[in-house]
């Protein structure tokens, strides 16, 4: 089950020329506003017909400009979650969710999604809302209902266009665990459009980086996010790598110990059970680099590492990727420090991370 697209579209001075694919799991389309994310989403959903191109889903041709094929949105079976929810105001939550059912193939046939109505309600925690009208729901509840509505039609692909962008911080944190459950259910491939690196670090398996209508980079999230050359594109304050860590000992009041491939992290605020895997985003600006093993330092995380790649930008900062076992950690230091410590690819060093630098929102659950 995979989506491929290769489209070009022009409106006004903006030219979109994008080609990428999305496999199983969550593929994030990342870029600032005006990078063409929503145009791509509209083309995939069938709401806009691009000037030229080809889009296929699981082998079916949705658009083939050269052959004059353009399947209407109603026949693509792509569940769309819009930024503004777009729930039908005259219908109850239950009626909204059931809206697409009559057009969906019967449960359990073909490539229909393996989630029934009860499982969707359970997963999104909306059982108590079913008789309410959209006007009486909070922003976060609306988005959960919108996700349920898109899932109920048994889509072949779930397309989420900035689903959290209209919500404030606490509401985002409220929905993210539901999205993690959806991802880990592996029920449907997801294309997730966002300009938020924090959401990508929590949710995405793959990332497609867009800028001014073009694809600059596509690959696994862990690879792309730990690439020092990506720092200018992601933003110096947002850049950071994603590590998978397993909970070894839990100390909910203090520091818990987590195993990563290259050693051990000690972090506060962990609430998962022992043995659970977590995705942890570590911002490049929170990592220090030392040539010798520091002593008498307050930091709880001092890990031996090897410098793998360096990216020197135009500004005073330098981005480094540090290899720690199987994982890579991104660090940002000044060019000055880099020269003084004579840091270069292949040099051994110690990565230093303040335990409390990792925000709770940057720690996500994952299955396995």
């Amino acid at each position: 089950m995979s989506l491929t697209f290769d489209i070009s579209h022009r409106f006004g001075a903006f030219q979109l020329e994008a080609q990428a694919e999305a496999g199983p799991g969550v593929t994030a389309l990342f870029g600032p506003s005006g990078s063409g994310k929503t145009s791509i989403a509209n083309a995939i959903a069938g709401l806009v017909r691009p000037d030229a191109g080809r889009i296929t889903l699981a082998g079916d041709v949705l658009l083939d400009h050269a052959r004059g094929v353009c399947l209407p949105a109603a026949r693509r079976r792509i569940g769309v979650v819009f930024q503004d929810g777009r729930l039908f105001p005259h219908l109850t939550v239950a009626q909204n969710i059931a809206f697409g059912l009559r057009y969906a193939p019967p449960a359990g046939t073909g490539n229909a999604l393996g989630l029934d109505a009860a499982a969707i309600q359970e997963m999104l925690g909306i059982g108590a809302l079913m008789q309410r009208h959209p006007a009486s729901l909070s922003g976060g509840e609306k988005q959960r209902v919108a996700i349920a509505r898109a899932l109920a039609m048994r889509p072949r692909l779930l397309l989420m266009d900035e689903p959290l962008a209209a919500l404030d911080g606490p509401r985002k944190d409220e929905i993210l665990p539901y999205l993690e459950r959806l991802r880990d259910s592996r029920a449907v491939p997801i294309v997730y459009i966002t300009h938020s690196m924090a959401e990508i670090a929590r949710l995405a398996d793959r990332i497609v980086v867009l800028r001014e209508g073009r694809v600059l980079r596509a690959g696994d999230v862990t690879d792309v996010l730990s690439d020092p050359a990506m720092v200018p594109l992601i933003g110096v304050r947002e850049a950071g790598s994603v590590l998978v860590a397993r909970v070894v000992t839990l100390n909910s009041g203090g520091l818990s110990r987590l195993a990563i491939s290259g050693g051990e992290l000690r972090l506060p605020g962990i609430e998962a059970q022992v043995g659970k895997s977590l995705r942890i985003r570590i911002l490049a600006q929170d990592v220090l680099v030392s040539r010798t093993q520091p002593v008498g330092l307050s930091s709880r995380n001092i890990l031996p590492a090897v410098i793998e790649a360096v990216h020197r930008g135009d500004g005073p900062g330098v981005a480094l990727s540090l290899r720690l076992g199987e994982d890579r950690l991104l660090a940002r230091i000044t060019a000055d420090a880099m020269d003084e410590l004579q840091l270069a690819p292949g040099v051994s060093c110690y990565a230093v991370l303040k335990a409390i630098a990792v925000a709770r929102a940057d720690i996500g659950a994952m299955s396995g």
């Binding site: 959903a45 069938g46 709401l47 209407p72 949105a73 109603a74 026949r75 693509r76 079976r77 792509i78 569940g79 769309v80 819009f82 503004d84 777009r86 039908f88 105001p89 005259h90 109850t92 809206f99 697409g100 009559r102 057009y103 969906a104 309410r132 009208h133 959209p134 006007a135 009486s136 509505r149 898109a150 039609m153």
Partner: protein
């Protein structure tokens, strides 16, 4: 209190107005949708044509109807062959009333369609609904108050229509004599003021009742839409 002629006029007016609204409403919804949601060459032309009865003197509209739908008219002649006759019949009064009320219905419905976010129709499409299903299941329920407003306006216009009706189908008691025509007829004969005044009160009562009922209905609809 009311004589048979007055009751006939009231019954005929109701029959004419209900018929006019029933037949013109589906067309008014379709035209309103096209004007609200489609952009095409000739859009302004269609809009102008729809609004023509609002700006033309009613007597002109009535005369044009007579030319087109009269027994020797180019449409009326053809329709007469299949047994449909408008000239000097109550059906002609309904046609005149429908055409005079049409722009009012279209305007009210078009405004309410424009107020429905097209993004909701897009959302319905992504859920599998074709254009017709999206219209019936999303747009139509949301424009209920607009349709109701258009219906009431069209009905009121039909009840009050005089100029085009009398020009097109004349003023035949029991045939084409609607309330306004009857009032006009009473006022044209000496000593008819009393009868005319009774019909005026009757006519006003029907209009006020229609407005009250529509107010009540639209409040209920709005509550249902808002949830």
């Amino acid at each position: 209190m009311l004589d048979a002629a007055a009751w006939d006029a009231l019954a005929l007016s109701l029959q004419v107005s209900v018929t006019a609204v029933v037949f013109s409403l589906p067309l008014a919804i379709a035209v309103a949708w096209v004007l609200a949601r489609r952009r095409f060459p000739g859009h302004a032309m269609l809009s102008a044509l729809v609004h023509l009865p609002l700006v033309l003197p009613p007597v002109v509209t009535g005369y044009l109807l007579l030319l087109a739908f009269g027994r020797n008219g180019w449409i009326g002649g053809a329709l007469a062959e299949v047994g449909i006759v408008f000239a000097f019949r109550w059906t002609g009064a309904a046609l005149a009333a429908g055409i005079m009320g049409f722009p009012l219905m279209v305007r009210a419905i078009q405004l309410s369609i424009e107020a429905v976010d097209p993004k909701l129709e897009e959302a319905a499409a992504t859920l599998g609904a074709g254009r017709w299903a999206a219209f019936v299941r999303v747009t139509l329920p949301l424009i209920g108050p607009g349709i109701l407003a258009g219906t009431v306006l069209g009905f009121a216009k039909a009840m009050g229509e005089f100029g085009a009706t009398i020009t097109f189908v004349a003023n035949i008691p029991g045939q084409t004599q609607t309330l306004p025509s009857a009032i006009y007829a009473f006022l044209s004969v000496p000593g008819g003021e009393g009868s005319a005044m009774r019909l005026v009160i009757l006519s006003a009562s029907v209009a006020i009742a229609a407005v009250l009922v529509s107010e009540w209905l639209s409040r209920r609809m709005a509550e249902r839409i808002r949830g």
